[in-house]
């Protein structure tokens, strides 16, 4: 061995906390326990269920569990869309406006009490396409004109909210299409079509996330966009794709809300943004991108919905409910990111 060859060797993997355990070669990327990188969110969920169950026996009744799943359906659809944007390290704040616009647009295109339109299922297609187009526009402005996604989508929130108000006719439209309203009303095994739709969507989204270029490159963009660009990947196209998915699913969220309330309401999307983003973060999807995923976000949605439901069931002071919700969210986020804590990790 010559002197020059004998260098004392670096253990960057050990020296640098960013690099995970050296040499461990466990398989991953397969469906299984390893899918969720941390047990934190699941533990939060189970702990919450235990606490509420011990406070009120009604909490674990079949009827209440069904109610929890019903109220999780729409936030889940929105959070799935949001996940694709967040893993890339971007954000979409336009959700409330897009969902409101989708709600109004649907209520005036489908058989209703105000306008003469009756597009039936076609109305759903038009609204989904509109959501997709708005998302794609968000993505285009962000990726190609290089404007921060935060401000682009914040502006789009206002624009779509304004459009929703503009489209709102003189009287509130009642949706008369019985098949459509039935989506939320008719139950199979005690659950409406909305719940089954959300579950099916989650499955498809999971496959897209793990098995397609769109999903995998999205993670890579979140980890290191510059490297992905240097590898010759058309990063902008993938960004537009993620925002289009998010816009489309948010539009779907607005449609499902219309089925639930049975009327067109220019503020139907109100209150969707916070649970959408909070659910992702609670589930372990980092706002800085590159980590998390659809399943993480679903667990996050269940945490949020269970919390709300439990507070009502246990008869918590309604004036304090928001405050308690906020506090529990802080604890849940801490639990879900605990395994990532490192002295030199940057959190923004």
């Amino acid at each position: 061995m010559t002197q020059a060859q004998l260098h004392a060797h670096d253990t960057s993997a050990m020296a640098s906390p960013r690099r995970g355990e050296a040499g461990t070669q466990r398989r991953s990327g397969h469906i299984g326990l390893g899918v969720l990188k941390s047990a934190g969110p699941i533990v939060s969920l189970l702990a919450m269920i235990l606490v509420f169950a011990s406070l009120t026996p009604n909490f674990v009744s079949v009827a209440n569990l069904q109610a929890i799943l019903e109220s999780a359906a729409v936030p889940a659809v929105v959070a799935i869309g949001m996940t694709f944007v967040l893993v890339q390290g971007s954000i979409d704040l336009s959700g409330e406006g897009v969902a409101s616009l989708a709600n109004i647009l649907l209520s005036i295109l489908i058989a209703n009490s105000v306008t003469a339109n009756d597009l039936g299922a076609g109305a759903i297609g038009v609204v989904l396409a509109t959501g997709l187009a708005i998302g794609a526009l968000n993505g285009t402005l962000y990726a190609y004109l290089r404007m921060p996604s935060l401000i682009v989508t914040l502006a789009m929130w206002l624009i779509t909210l304004g459009l929703a108000a503009l489209l709102f006719p003189s009287r509130q439209p009642q949706i008369l299409d019985s098949g459509f309203v039935g989506l939320a009303l008719h139950k199979h095994l005690g659950l409406s079509a909305l719940v089954y739709l959300a579950v099916a969507l989650a499955f498809v989204a999971f496959i897209v996330e793990r098995r397609t270029k769109l999903g995998r490159i999205g993670f890579a963009i979140g980890a290191d966009e510059a490297l992905v660009r240097l590898a010759g990947v058309n990063v902008n196209a993938y960004k537009v794709g993620a925002f289009a998915i998010c816009g489309c699913l948010t539009g779907l969220g607005g449609i499902l809300t219309a089925a639930q309330i049975g009327v067109g309401n220019p503020l139907a999307g109100e209150g969707l943004l916070f649970p959408g983003i909070a659910a992702c973060v609670i589930g372990g999807t980092l706002l800085s991108g590159g980590r998390g995923g659809v399943l993480h976000s679903l667990v996050g949605v269940l945490v949020l919905v269970t919390l709300r439901n439990g507070l009502v069931q246990t008869g918590a002071n309604p004036l304090l409910q928001k405050a308690i919700e906020g506090m529990v969210i802080v604890v849940a986020v801490a639990a879900s990111t605990w395994h990532l804590r490192r002295k030199t990790r940057v959190v923004k």
Binding site: H7, A8, A13, M14, R26, R27, L214, G222, T344
Partner: protein, 505 residues
């Protein structure tokens, strides 16, 4: 043998710097071409031009006789040119297989869906070439640094199946972070590659370059100063061509050895970092230079990081200037007068994109302000300029971007960040010479030696045995996280390299 790639009068101008000045180079078929030069001589720039990352300001590049100009690394790759990066280009949260093929047109997806089985099988073939035994679906961030380097190589080798005809493979200092066995595996690859490609190989180690190359080009200040065939030169001549006539590279002798009877600056007792270091005990006197060395996984780096408070947890007893201290974060360490230069300069030690002056004054700039509240740009700059002068940092100005300096000058600027601190008593250096050429290394050593003479205590992790015996007063050898041997008074009684190696393995 005909020329596969030829460069004529290639120049590259960056704002304020002429990085390459009319370079001529010819790469023949089935040839390994060594490229040597000091930091800042333009080797990396030249590689980046050939690899499509930079475009030349002037001159012509011909591949297989016809002129080419690459707008991106992807265009270069399609023409059969692959660059094994000095900085790594792998994406941590993708699998090894995905990384191997991310920049290549493949048929591993159908209707946008990956066919992972196929992709992993294809990846296996590439990984076998570099003798790397990891599962293709392992996420890259679970690999060690050296394993990643091999994946980086496999990524370039996978061009073999995609491109017809001869490849050009560029290696930019591939060996600086590899172990001897890994270097041997790499050399086998390079020799195998010669069958159907030509290789350009950059290294700071003359014996490595001579062992692997058929021909050597020497660069100095962006010019091509010499060309030698393998048989007609030796390391000494190459060294002289590289640094010029003067024998730079010699390190001043130690004048006044540290006074070991004086109170200890640092006393470390039973330091344990879970999974990395166990029960390590040592002292550092004021003005003493303590060198830590060990093979990969010995824990030397973790000792440094624990002293500076960046390891996530450690136990044991640390006394600093006679008082027990608990260092739990870097700002606490800095408050005590401890500075730290991390091993990964590009990722951890400098703020890329900011100026030399901003980098130097980030930690202690406020010491030169008014009452610790208001900063004084003027006094900060004066102090920064003072250290630029003392350490002979080559920079066009204080406002030049730090990442545009050469490696050696970057490292000296990083060092000065700490030297600005009037309260600094102990400096911890983690692989301070990594990526530095011999001239820059000697400069840095002289600066460190001078600081120690002035009373600053130094703890450093070395890269080579030569480095250890040249610089240290005391050498501590670590093995599997434990202290296996110590050598005192190294400057007066040099231990043999064999003895140190025996303690390491």
């Amino acid at each position: 043998m005909s020329a596969l790639l030829s460069l004529q009068n290639i120049s590259k101008r960056f704002p304020g710097v002429l990085a390459l000045d009319e370079i001529d180079m010819e790469l023949r078929e089935h040839e390994v071409l060594g490229l040597i030069g000091q930091n800042g001589s333009g080797k990396s720039t030249l590689m980046k031009i050939i690899g499509g990352l930079h475009q030349p300001s002037a001159g012509e590049m011909r591949l297989r006789g016809s002129p080419v100009r690459f707008g991106s690394p992807l265009e270069a790759a399609r023409a059969g040119i692959g660059l094994v990066h000095q900085e790594q280009s792998l994406i941590g949260n993708l699998t090894v297989a995905e990384n191997l093929f991310i920049d290549k047109p493949t048929d591993f997806s159908r209707f946008g869906f990956y066919r992972r089985g196929r992709m992993n099988d294809a990846a296996r073939i590439q990984l076998d070439k570099v003798e790397l035994d990891v599962a293709p679906d392992t996420p890259v961030d679970q690999l060690t640094f050296a394993q990643r380097q091999m994946v980086e190589l496999a990524k370039v080798l996978s061009l073999e199946e995609l491109v017809e005809g001869h490849l050009v493979v560029l290696f930019d200092e591939p060996t600086s972070v590899l172990t001897p066995t890994e270097i041997q595996a790499l050399f086998r690859q390079v020799r195998r590659l010669k069958m159907r490609s030509s290789v350009v190989f950059i290294s700071h180690r003359m014996d490595e370059v001579l062992a692997i190359s058929d021909r050597v080009y020497v660069l100095s200040d962006g010019r091509n100063v010499a060309e030698r065939a393998k048989g007609e030169t030796d390391p000494d001549e190459l060294y002289e061509l590289m640094v010029g006539r003067q024998r730079a590279g010699s390190v001043l002798p130690r004048n006044n050895p540290p006074d070991k009877s004086a109170p200890k600056r640092l006393a470390v007792r039973d330091l344990t970092v879970p999974g990395k270091v166990e029960d390590v005990t040592f002292d550092v006197a004021s003005g003493e230079i303590v060198g830590l060395i060990g093979v990969q996984g010995s824990g030397a780096e973790a000792v440094c990081r624990a002293i500076f408070g960046v390891e996530d947890s450690h136990s044991g007893h640390i006394e600093y200037e006679g008082r027990p201290v608990r260092v739990s974060c870097p700002s606490g360490a800095v408050g005590l007068g401890i500075g730290y230069v991390p091993a990964e300069r590009k990722a951890e030690a400098m703020m890329k994109g900011m100026s030399v002056c901003q980098n130097m004054t980030v930690t202690f700039g406020s010491d030169y302000g008014y009452g610790g509240l208001l900063l004084s740009k003027r006094r900060e700059r004066r102090e920064a300029a003072n250290w630029v002068e003392r350490l002979k940092i080559k920079t066009p100005s204080l406002d030049h971007r730090i990442d545009q300096l050469s490696g050696g000058n970057q490292q000296k600027a990083v060092l000065s960040k700490w030297l600005l601190g009037r309260s600094l008593r102990l400096l911890v250096l983690d692989h301070p010479t990594r990526g530095l050429d011999p001239g820059a290394r000697a400069d840095l050593f002289n600066a460190i030696r001078q600081l120690a003479e002035d009373g600053l205590s130094i703890v450093f992790v070395g890269d080579t045995l030569d480095e250890m015996v040249t610089l240290s007063d005391t050498i501590l050898v670590l093995r599997d996280g434990r202290l296996s041997q110590r050598f005192d008074d190294v400057q007066t009684q040099r231990p043999s390299e064999e003895d140190i190696v025996r303690a390491m393995v």
